[in-house]
């Protein structure tokens, strides 16, 4: 009981705070805004899902936190506070001490993470050697006990990447991401390349990670049902902006932004059959460049929405960017 109280108290400590972030991409001679007016905070022990379509800025956000943005990206303004330090002001040498050590990373494609001529366990040993100075043999032992916790036979540590299935590789990626006991793990579409059944196993592994080690997780996905199932809170992005943010249960029960409502309606379910025909109205798929970014697809759009962009309105415990809630 006492432990629970202490855990609860430490809940309101922020591990990551992104403040007023704006990022642009140079494409040819033009500049495109990828992320705009983004402020979000992730607490310790929190699983935060960031949901959005391709082009919504969710992956740019992840890259910015890890400071691995592509060369044509420019951070226009904002700061990213990690444990009280602004990552954007950190020299690269110090950033390298945080990346992969205090902030773990899990990517979409597990095959790209591994060096094909190294055994999977060596990857973990190398990580521990670089960041902690752990001896290689010892590192392999750590790898063994780590994967065993997640129900993987420890001798698989001595396999080469090609000997593992996609799902097994992704499980090793997770083990690798947490080997250094990071405070925050960024998972960028970690289950997209996996089969539905394997996906479930990876998800419960991530849940375990939070429950047992208290790691905060920033879970980036295009799949709203996935986001709702794994996270405590969901941030919905559209066209580079946050359009809604709420506890997962509230979002599921009562989505406020018309975009979130539309997303929830479109998900095929097993219990009932959707009448897809009603979705075929217009062929617009790109965010609006004037007024509210969703105004050209929104069924509630009024004159003001086309003219004026709404701010992210704070409704106490949740936020929404829509004039309907002013």
């Amino acid at each position: 009981m006492l432990i629970k109280v202490i855990l609860h108290n430490s809940m309101d400590v922020k591990i990551l705070e992104i403040i007023d972030l704006e990022i642009m991409y140079r494409v040819g001679r033009k500049s495109v805004i990828a992320v705009r007016d983004v402020s979000l905070a992730i607490e310790k022990r929190e699983i935060r899902a960031v949901v959005g379509e391709s082009g919504s800025g969710k992956s740019t956000l992840a890259s910015a936190v890890l400071r691995v943005l592509p060369g044509n990206a420019r951070i226009v303004r904002g700061s990213i506070m990690f444990d009280g330090v602004d990552l954007l002001k950190l020299p690269e040498r110090e950033m390298r001490r945080i990346r992969g050590s205090r902030i773990g990373i899990i990517f979409q494609d597990p095959s790209a993470t591994f060096n094909p001529v190294m055994r999977v366990g060596d990857h973990i040993a190398e990580l521990l050697y670089v960041h902690r100075g752990t001896r290689w043999e010892e590192g392999l032992k750590v790898a063994e006990s780590l994967v065993k916790r997640f129900g993987i036979p420890s001798e698989r540590v001595y396999d080469y990447p090609h000997q593992l299935s996609g799902g097994m590789k992704q499980r090793f990626c997770i083990a690798m991401a947490i080997a250094t006991n990071p405070e925050l793990v960024i998972a960028d579409e970690p289950t997209t390349a996996l089969d539905v059944v394997t996906q479930m196993q990876v998800l419960s592994m991530l849940r375990e990670l939070r429950d047992e080690y208290g790691t905060s997780i920033m879970f980036i996905t295009h799949d709203l049902s996935l986001a709702l199932s794994i996270s405590d809170n969901v941030t919905v992005m559209y066209g580079g902006e946050i359009v809604e943010e709420a506890p997962s249960d509230d979002l599921r029960r009562e989505p406020l932004h018309p975009y979130t409502q539309m997303l929830l309606e479109c998900i095929p379910r097993l219990r009932q059959r959707l009448d897809f025909r009603r979705f075929e109205k217009e062929s617009i798929e790109l965010p609006s460049t004037r007024g509210c970014i969703f105004s050209n697809r929104c069924r509630y759009a009024r004159e003001r929405c086309l003219r004026e962009e709404p701010p992210l309105i704070d409704l106490g415990g949740r936020r929404v960017r829509c004039w309907l809630y002013e």
């Binding site: 379509e53 097994m168 089969d195 059944v197 479930m200 049902s225 709702l228 199932s229 097993l270 219990r271």
Partner: protein, 335 residues
């Protein structure tokens, strides 16, 4: 019920693996991947027939074989052709006839990015089959293309005709791919995961488009997907595939309301329901086995939570449990 437009009978497609030098020296015989292994089913005219399974189950290979893009190892694919005015066996058709049949049979792939030619204007890309089949060129071609572009929602067509693929969004690219598949007025379309690279809101509109086109153009779809939830939403009947075999087949409602095969139940448990909390529990940790080599017993036995001793030894036959609902599982074989 109307006569089927397509009858697939004992279809097999094996891929031979390269033998290493050591294998040759030791006189080991060639290993095969049995991607499609003795599959039979009918597709009725104007229905949506779903094929559901995980990657590696052979569903994409099956889709390519039934429209003649791949030659089967054995088996028959009887197709009721309009052009030939008779039923033809796609498996044994000559190359020249197969090319003619291409007008009636089309395929839509998963990834619209790689299906498009980046250096071709989309209007020309959509109209290309008209030139290949010497149906129309020049102004006449342009007119047919514009009409089909309008049909698939690339509106106004004159604005899109001269654009390049990179200027379009993912959903628009898939519309281009669909337009090209439709330009020759086909009758049967294999849609191989046509929306799995798209976001849900775009997916919904592409599905809506496919459903409208089906009615307007009297199309029949073989819809291949990994998502049993999506298949349940749009298909009339569903075949569940596992390691090259159909393990369950039936009407979409009866498959979902009354799944008989343990694998179908596993697939259903893996669907995340956005309306309830919690990750569905999938206790099973083992990996899907490789499709290489020979099998004894039921193919699902290694992952099956309900396996019996017999399952290891002998493969169950596909039996009809209720009208039109088939399953390949010993639990349902009456002795």
């Amino acid at each position: 019920m109307s006569e089927p437009i397509l009858q697939v009978i004992n279809l097999k497609k094996y891929f031979a693996l390269e033998r290493s030098i050591a294998d040759r020296l030791l006189g080991r015989s060639r290993a095969y991947v049995k991607a499609v292994d003795d599959v039979s089913f009918d597709v009725n005219e104007n229905e949506i027939f779903g094929i559901v399974g995980e990657s590696g189950c052979g569903k994409s290979t099956l889709g390519r074989v039934i429209i003649g893009l791949l030659k089967p190892t054995s088996g028959r694919i009887l197709y009721k052709s309009k052009i030939f005015n008779r039923t033809v066996d796609i498996a044994s058709l000559k190359e020249k006839d197969l090319r003619l049949l291409r007008r009636e049979l089309q395929i839509i792939f998963q990834d619209p990015y790689s299906a498009l030619n980046p250096k071709m204007k989309i209007g020309d890309f959509i109209g290309h089959p008209l030139e290949i089949h010497k149906i129309a060129t020049g102004e006449e071609k342009r007119e047919i293309v514009m009409k089909i572009m309008e049909k698939v929602g690339l509106i106004p067509p004159e604005e899109y005709y001269d654009r390049y693929p990179r200027e379009l969004s993912g959903g628009q690219r898939q519309r281009v791919v669909i337009a090209r598949a439709l330009i020759l007025n086909p009758r049967l379309i294999v849609a191989d995961e046509p929306t799995s690279n798209l976001d849900v809101s775009i997916q919904a509109r592409i599905i809506a488009l496919l459903l409208r086109l089906k009615d307007e153009m009297k199309l029949t779809y073989v819809f291949i997907t990994h998502s049993i939830a999506l298949a349940h939403n749009i298909c009339d009947r569903i075949a569940v595939m596992y390691l090259g075999r159909i393990v369950e087949l039936g009407g979409a409602p009866s498959i979902v309301d009354e799944p008989l095969h343990p694998y179908t139940r596993l697939l259903m448990r893996s669907v995340i329901d956005p309306d309830t909390r919690n990750i569905p529990r999938v206790r099973e940790v083992s990996e899907p086995p490789s499709p290489v080599g020979d099998f004894r017993g039921c193919r699902f036995v290694r992952r099956c939570p309900e396996k019996m001793e017999k399952c290891e030894r002998e493969e169950p036959p596909l039996v009809e449990v209720s009208t039109g609902h088939y399953v390949r599982c010993w639990q349902h074989v009456k002795r």
